[in-house]
Assembly symmetry: D2
Homo-oligomer: 364 residues x 4
């Protein structure tokens, strides 16, 4: 299964950067969930380009729901969300039909699709395809909220600047979900934007790290093998373009700890079981513990830069140089965070429906 | 699908730490591949406990092949590998029937399995279950080698000590596959062992990082969505107990780079296309580029430590203390590396059979 | 996985009878296959209503390809095919919001979707949803033809009238694919139409049997367990509305034979192996033998009839009567045959890509 | 996925007729279900050879549970059931290494596995492999019974003799489950046995039809596409060796009915909704209606007959003759019925767990 993810709740995505339409089919979501088109539009806006630190391409990204919603609620059958592409400047891409952009998928696409791929704007590899994921994810996020499960992602670092770490999770998540540039410390955010603009000025780009928290997720969901919660979340996250690392809890930091530091002591609190620390990020043995799920994703710098680069001409696989023109983001990290929220929400809906049944998301 | 992973080539694992048998069913592997039982045994030995830095539990771990191999070769039908458990000291585990060990899956298992789980020695969550994966993986590793694809993993860091990074990959992989304690720098290895022993002496434990290289893997394998090579490899790796982070190429390091640093320039070399650097770890857009695949995994410290820990009594979810007895590893990183090799090999066989057909692994 | 079928090549369908759009996403099909929009349109026409023996609803059924095709060829990424609904008369369906039509899915939909389903015109259960399958199937049929694999289906019986059985398969298949009302014996076809019209005149409906032949399919494709060719084909066929029986070769007839009658003797012929008879329908042990694959499907009579029927009012689950109004087919068998062709083609493309690799459908 | 079936509850089978062990891994079944080893043994006995009408091969078929059961109950983790092969007479099979038995999978196995298959006794294609399915199915049948869901199968016809059709389903199912030769009319059963013995005396074999009823299955389970209840049940049934046709309700008989005959009128009865007739076999639109599920399977005659047959020598694909020796069943229909019960039970557990959650089978 390629462009379809999930079992109980699944999402199929389609489209190319410069094709007619992109979109997603969201299947298996419980019937009766209210679908808030304004919320979908708001999520789409979070993914969109913003000001000087983003691409000059502007898409309305209006989501049209063409199936699976009736009288404002999910029917339980496939929800199809389509988004027309409008602002394609395909004339910008001529030379890129045969010169492989370093850091991009042009060369690997050539090896897989033998030249038949739609190369314009990265085609099906474009970050633009995440728009369908965000549209589908908005419905998943709404469904989770109605069950008391909340997700928020901030830019933990960007261009060498660090945001503060999570504190009061409920308040932080609310704050992030209301922010266009998702940081917990506004000063850090301002510095990050400066770094992005500085990179843009040099024709270069920056990456960063995203940190995601999920609260309210019930204990006992996941598997010991092979569908651990970490497995299924990372599977989804690594399909977001530019993500090159995923960790849970203290992640790579755990590798440097001793067992006595890393073990989270259990204790009873108000009738439920919590841990005093959360180094394991809410997941033990692949199964949720009821503690907040903490995920960090590494996002590589945008590979579209304006500096001259060494590459190959794919017509004869000979050496050549490339200077990329066109409209590109000097950073995508601030746009990627809503993609991560959406992706995680889709995975969690699938897990919950599989564990508690297909009606769980709407039952009281 | 829970304990089954893969599509064209799949592996199903079963068993509990103190049950009768553990094992695996390897399905979909091409017919006609020679099965070398000595190599399987050698791989099992690499996973086994070694000296002072490992558990005192000793298992023969003799793999019995009960189906799918005929006249010394794979038949193409399911290969079932079983391993009898022998050295169980279940009497050691009495109190652990109801006290949740911090850092372990005892509490989450209780939330999922409602007390019916086999708690002895961690049951189905035990690292012991990886023995089945190593047995199945040995056949996958052999198959890959016959196609010129080689995998090796070293302990990149342990207890604060760093190994040198990969150099000549072919030589390094050969060296690692012949080593019991897989490091590239023997001095670093000696220091790591000292740290493990020191932790053991304190009743504590250490974790570490593993770095894996795959060479000879063809370009053009993987998917842009959702089964990117990173997605499927991380899915598998995160089901190995104790793995809490996975990254590809420079991974989290890429988040700190600029695009001009991170982009790997292409160039033609001896009739094929290579990149001058390999920050992306052999994967672009979710698809292999033909460059070495580089993976790093974070392994948390063994949660079984001998110090007193705060926890809960699961009979009434009340606070209590726990002192773990029994036989445990002060580190598993040196045993985990062959598990990682095996796991990666299984994923790659699945990808190759899906891409090039079910006979590819044996065709010339 | 619900509305998605297949692994190497998969199809996802969506839409409701009276929603905005219906369609399909075809994924995993090899890159480089020419896409003939005229052929797609011709296949859509075969599925459409014809004259007095079909519904008065008329839909243009114009298929719009919005992704996955570039310069007239498949790219290898998801092909999205959408069809706008136009001729909805939703006012016809008022009472059917709460009265369950016997033989239809209204009651079972209520039990699954709790009243949130789109009940108009059968919603997602409507035969109209097969339009997406036919559009996707047209691409699969084209791909198979370029590899010398041909599929044809005739109405073996309808309203008690029997068509002649298959003779020269290549000629019969060509004839069927050029026929609007697919029979091998035109007189039988004329009689069938009379029976359909007679049923229509009484406000009743008829069913029938379809017989499908596939020629040119290579030997050695399928699995002994659980994905036998019969398993995967029947899985797909039983999701076509109204199909209630599927058999291969002599099917239920085999139950009455002796082994010496049923066994197909092998013999060498022109360098390949054939069987003198084909009682097993080209499949032995779940795997293709290279002989023609023969499939028969039972199609129940259209449940929408104009006679008064006993049923329940789903608002309080009380007894009531129902007289269906609106526009309905007195038979669907003549429209179902292209759905069966399409469905079978999709399954076979998946099997071939899984067996021989994702590029097989275009390689020479 | 080949030898694994199911999603929420899955079964993996392995083994060859003359290999060391055969068996199954049953995964995803809810924790806490009592496992009755005597019932498993009784089910295995029903599958075994009986008297003159079966093979002379005798296997103890003792099922050893090596994982997934703890303190007599399911743990929720994979249950591995292994059965040692004992009574292999492999010397009987010499010539069959290269002569393809008509009606068997020898030739198609050769085309798929290129001569590496274990040909002895049919290897992995052997009906013997169903023993693992029956062992796993016994646990599924027990679980369903505890929820009030009962399954029974009778030999509807064999050698031209017809059994009476189902009457009082609850009583009939109980009677069948207590019968070694499962018929509702003992006289018909006696005649069937005579026909089987007559066929055996001639060195020939007979087939037959099985009819299965499931009662107590809740309404609202299944999917409109592609996982209709008919789809998933037929998928499983067509992987049982010798099954060549599957129908639901009146199946192929529906093709001859008018809509007014075929539609099952709904009515309220004792607070639930029933249908006056059950031509649709308890499934409408792919979803259970709460009425009994009725399934019929066509079983072809055993292909192992003692008459001389034309075939090919697979060493050079030349014509030859074959006279099969060894021990074979003149009929398998009486043994197949418990395989069908088991197979259906496994599918239904998967469906129920997917619909209502993984704990449903044990919750009150």
């Amino acid at each position: 299964m390629k462009n379809t993810f999930g079992s109980s709740v699944s999402v199929t995505i389609f489209g190319e950067s410069h094709g007619k339409m992109i979109g997603a089919v969201l299947d298996g979501i419980a019937p009766g969930i209210p679908v808030d088109e304004e919320f979908i539009a708001a999520q789409m806006d979070l993914r969109k380009a913003v000001g000087k630190i983003s691409t000059a391409r502007h898409e309305a990204d209006q989501v049209q729901i063409v199936s699976g919603v009736f009288n404002g609620r999910t029917t339980g059958t496939p929800i199809t969300l389509i988004i027309a592409n409008q602002d394609q400047h395909s004339r910008d891409y001529g030379e890129l039909a045969y010169k492989a952009r370093p850091g991009h998928a042009d060369f690997t696409a050539q090896m897989k699709y033998h030249g038949f791929q739609d190369f314009r704007g990265g085609g099906h590899f474009s970050g633009r395809i995440t728009a369908g994921l965000v549209a589908a994810g908005a419905i998943a996020i709404s469904a989770l909220r109605s069950k008391g499960i909340f997700i928020g992602t901030h830019i933990l670092s960007c261009g060498g600047v660090e945001d503060r770490t999570f504190g009061d999770l409920r308040a932080d998540i609310d704050r992030l979900n209301a922010s266009e540039f998702a940081v917990l410390d506004e000063k850090a955010g301002a510095s990050m934007k400066e770094r992005i603009e500085a990179a843009a000025a040099e024709g270069d780009s920056v990456g960063g790290k995203l940190e995601t928290a999920v609260i309210g997720f019930p204990a006992g969901v996941g598997e010991p093998w092979f569908d651990t919660l970490e497995s299924v979340i990372s599977h989804m996250l690594f399909s977001i373009p530019a993500v090159k690392g995923v960790e849970f809890g203290d992640g790579f930091g755990l590798a440097e700890m001793s067992g006595s530091q890393a073990n989270d002591p259990f204790r009873a609190e108000n009738g439920s079981v919590v841990t005093a620390t959360n180094h394991n990020g809410g997941i033990l043995g692949g199964i949720s513990s009821g503690m907040p799920i903490i995920i960090r994703s590494a996002v590589k710098p945008t590979p579209s830069i304006y500096k001259e680069q060494q590459t190959i001409d794919m017509r004869d696989m000979s050496d050549t140089e490339l200077v990329i023109k066109g409209r590109h983001d000097p950073a995508v990290i601030h746009r990627a965070r809503v993609v991560v929220d959406s992706a995680v929400a889709l995975v969690l809906c699938d897990q919950l429906a599989g564990r508690f049944g297909t009606d769980w998301l709407v039952s009281e």
